[in-house]
Symmetry: C2
């Protein structure tokens, strides 16, 4: 059975994802968790502490869980990366990206959130950079700035997910991301 702390994090993660941080109510989280304020404050002293833990644990797990597999690929690296990027089984396009939503809402208004989110985002970029470096080392692609390219790969994933979200329609994501594939294919030897 999940601990009380884990249950609180699960519910808070879900509430923040669906409503945004500002619109997330601690009372609603407590009601869903069937818990009172005192029990929550034993684990998290404030809504903000709960939000930061959601980022450091749940959002982080989500990104590493989805993209970490890329680090094990040894062949057809770019094609496999694109396959994983395009694979959106059970993805909720109408709500968008769990990481980007929080970043766009919170980075400009709170330094602690900005820093916590940046750490996760940087992990995402580093995974992609590592994969691109390997593709270069294995002579799959030619590129002299995999740092810039990794920034762009992540930014365009977020941009394409945003396009689907604005229309509440996942087809836009697939059409849009096909052009990232075109860029990667143009770099192939």
């Amino acid at each position: 059975m999940k601990s009380t702390r884990e249950k609180l994090l699960d519910i808070a993660f879900d509430e923040i994802y669906h409503n945004g941080y500002a619109n997330t109510s601690v009372d609603k989280i407590l009601k869903k968790a069937n818990m009172n304020k005192g029990s929550m404050y034993h684990f998290f002293k404030s809504k903000k502490e709960l939000g930061l833990a959601v980022i450091r644990e749940r959002v982080n797990e989500y990104i590493v869980g989805k993209y970490g597999a890329l680090l094990t690929y040894e062949e057809n690296i770019c094609d496999e990366m694109m396959k994983l990027i395009k694979n959106r089984n059970n993805f909720d396009f109408s709500c968008g990206c769990k990481l980007n939503n929080m970043m766009q809402e919170l980075s400009p208004i709170d330094k602690d959130f900005k820093e916590a989110l940046e750490i996760v985002y940087l992990k995402f970029e580093n995974i992609i950079e590592h994969v691109l470096d390997k593709a270069v080392a294995k002579n799959e692609i030619v590129h002299n700035d995999t740092k810039a390219l990794s920034l762009f790969v992540v930014a365009s994933i977020e941009g394409c997910l945003g396009t689907a979200k604005k229309s509440q329609d996942g087809n836009f994501f697939q059409t849009c991301i096909s052009q990232l594939e075109l860029l990667l294919n143009s770099l192939k030897k």
Copy 2:
């Protein structure tokens, strides 16, 4: 002198941009406008009506004002487009894109906002598609799906602006968007 209605729109546009729609207070807008609720309700029956007018007028003007110039280009179309995309004089990278911010916050939660924002976003995409079609017609680039490419150009602009916003640093935008240029250059004849 600006009319009362225009003044309200200017202030509301600024408040929504800096705080998000949910966190925007009508009372604060009225205070800044030196106006009472009755005078505002003469023009806008609710916060939502004011928000919709901000999208249809201010956000729309902003996008058409920045990107509409592209429609007049007849030579070096892709290079000129990239120049305009990269030109971010006085852009507030820490707050991000006026259109994308509202889209990401409001599209999933309100149908009227979603529709109003989609109209502006579609206008943005249509301008880019028109420019790309012209670049194909003039034999600058080869591409068989300028619709998908226009979606991607806009999505990657939004993604790159988001990357800058998450770090509160415009340099990320320039590094990131350089890779869109790489894609366009790869399509040149």
